[in-house]
Symmetry: C2
Subunit: 104 residues, 2 copies
Amino acid sequence: MQRRYELKAVIFKALAHPMRICMLDKLKERSWCVCELAMEVGINKSVASKHLSQLKAAGLIEDEKRGTLVEYRLVAPCILDMAACAESTILDNRRKRLDFAAAR
Amino acid sequence: MQRRYELKAVIFKALAHPMRICMLDKLKERSWCVCELAMEVGINKSVASKHLSQLKAAGLIEDEKRGTLVEYRLVAPCILDMAACAESTILDNRRKRLDFAAAR
DNA sequence: ACAATTGTTTCGAAACATTGCAACTATTGT
DNA sequence: ACAATAGTTGCAATGTTTCGAAACAATTGT
């Protein structure tokens, strides 16, 4: 059980950064190489490479060398649906609580 | 968009610790007060309180004072289904890759 | 062989997270 | 008013993450 909690924590840790979520969002559309993706999201390539390797270590994305490029692609797009679910759950709840507060 | 990535990151950051996932797992069964839950998972109450307040700040759990106790409960059990989905996705994928490697 | 391009790794600085202890607050029952 | 119990907060020590710059490695085309 302990082991399973740790595995899940690794996955969530990988998702626990706005830039990594943004990058996953881009990877949902299509594959990107490091340089191109770094440009797109406005960070330098060394940082981009590090974020990508974290996502890869968590098993969320895969890479493939193509000549001098390395293409990254999303392993399971459901990961991002998950993110969407989390967001809407929280927002719904926040709204509900505000309504409740306003009603009194 | 930037703002939305940050909100999601807060949610995932809250989930990014084995002990917090364990606590959420317990909260799936029923409500717990801090002391009791701390005992159950084997940590001291100040640490438990801090983990719980992180989960609350992320909107994942709610609290309610009952006399001298504070009861915490899960806001949206779907959060943990989400965790389960993440886990199985990754494990499936890992397995697939191992099979692929073995087949060559 | 060489230059150009792409990615990764290493380093140090700054920011952040985690832990346990002690101090503190708040509520209950005597 | 007092003691007991439950929870939170502040603090200090320790460890982890993040970032950019620079160095490095690997591949391609000339």
